[in-house]
């Protein structure tokens, strides 16, 4: 009887978590995709950047869902660390190490454009490094709390 109740509570908890994670993913999608589409209309973006943009939105939504799904567990922080690492690699790749070069054909000639975004990229990497260190500290604190609780229960 107790076992069945526990099972039911577990399933209920899982369903609630999935629903919460799904709704959080949806909200993240709305908050990330639409403002970015307004800022960078997909028609104005070269194909490769359009693909990168879709990857960015997909990964942000994925990490939002997965961290929410595992919230309250150590995996929440592990995924937060993974997200920060992904963001750093993503931004470095998307910004081509800080120098974006484009060749645009204009009538009979070609125009070469070079945008130096190193300073901007540095800030983006810095913010993700801060997020990464925050997640590591949170994970440490979470483990410390768990150890403390288990030690108290043993006593």
């Amino acid at each position: 009887m107790v076992e069945e109740e526990n099972k039911r509570a577990f399933i209920k908890n899982i369903i609630l978590r999935v629903l919460k994670a799904a709704s959080w993913g949806f909200v993240t999608y709305i908050l990330v995709y639409y403002p970015l589409v307004l800022m960078y209309p997909s028609g104005a973006m070269p194909f490769e950047y359009s693909q990168l943009f879709n990857v960015f939105v997909a990964m942000v939504v994925f990490f939002a869902v997965i961290t929410k799904l595992f919230s309250g567990t150590i995996l929440e922080y592990a995924f937060s660390v993974a997200k920060a690492l992904f963001m750093i690699i993503y931004f470095f790749y998307a910004f081509n190490g800080g120098a974006i070069g484009l060749t645009v054909p204009v009538s009979e000639t070609t125009v070469n454009l070079v945008l130096d975004l190193r300073a901007f990229l540095a800030v983006l990497i810095l913010v993700n490094l801060l997020a990464l260190s925050k997640s590591v500290l949170q994970a440490t604190e979470f483990l410390a709390r768990k150890v403390e609780a288990s030690e108290l229960s043993v006593r």
Partner: protein, 261 residues
């Protein structure tokens, strides 16, 4: 540890807000920069020609545009530098506009130099390299470069001299008629005087004369220079030799040697 985590949280949030605000305002600013090009003008003087391209930048955005540098390099078909021009605009502050012009000067003295003299007699092309750099919001350097080919029309295209005839003029002189022809492929009209000196095959000057020219751009010139030589000197005029031609225009004077016969 909680305080550190909280501080990191605040720092992360603050930086994200800064990044988002900067991105939004930067994109808004870029889309609100109004760049207008004026009508290109060509000024000709005795020292050369100047192409002037007026332009206007109206910065209606939230960020400054600084260190705007426009550089153009004109090289001939062999890559030899003909002229290089630079326009610097130190700052276009947010909400302000500037009006200036990029001037490309071509010195006739340079064009008349031995290196470029063939350009006066045969058509060619120039490479125009344009390089624009600026600093957006004092943090994002931007560079743009392009290359274009400009056709060069020679003012004395296919210049040729032909000694047409020599015949007695009067009891003391002979008349030498030398015909000249060329096509003015340049965009400017060529007006002035053509001075002609005929030298024989041992490089002695035999006779000289001059004629005027007024050749509109894109048209052909066919003229004659009639010179006279003393009967005594008639024998000095050989079947072949050289003609020294001086083109004297208000803009330049050019000396050219051409064989005849």
């Amino acid at each position: 540890m909680k305080q550190v985590i909280r501080a990191l949280g605040w720092a992360t949030s603050t930086l994200w807000i800064f990044i988002i605000v900067f991105s939004v305002t930067a994109l808004y600013s870029v889309s609100n920069i109004d760049i207008g090009l004026g009508e290109a003008q060509i000024f000709a003087s005795s020292e050369g020609m100047m192409f002037s391209l007026p332009f206007r930048i109206d910065n209606k955005g939230y960020h400054d545009i600084s260190e705007l540098n426009i550089t153009t390099r004109v090289t001939d078909c062999n890559g030899t530098l003909i002229t290089s021009s630079q326009t610097l605009v130190p700052l276009v502050s947010k909400g302000s506009s500037i009006e200036t012009a990029h001037n490309i000067s071509i010195s006739l003295k340079d064009i008349m130099s031995i290196e470029f003299t063939p350009l006066l007699f045969s058509d060619s092309f120039f490479d125009l390299g344009t390089f624009i750099s600026l600093n957006f919001a004092h943090t994002i350097p931007f560079q743009m470069s392009t290359n274009a080919t400009i056709l060069w029309g020679a003012p004395f295209y296919e210049f040729s001299t032909v000694k047409v005839s020599t015949h007695p003029y009067n009891s003391t002189h002979w008349e030498v008629i030398t015909s000249l022809s060329f096509e003015n492929h340049a965009f400017l009209n060529i007006t002035g005087i053509i001075q002609l000196e005929i030298y024989n095959n041992i490089n002695e000057q035999v006779t000289s004369g001059e004629t005027s020219m007024d050749v509109p751009s894109g048209s052909r010139y066919e003229g004659q220079v009639i010179t006279y030589i003393d009967l005594v000197d008639a024998s000095r005029l050989t079947e072949s030799g050289n003609v020294r031609v001086n083109f004297m225009t208000p803009m330049f004077t050019l000396e050219w040697w051409s064989p005849y016969g």
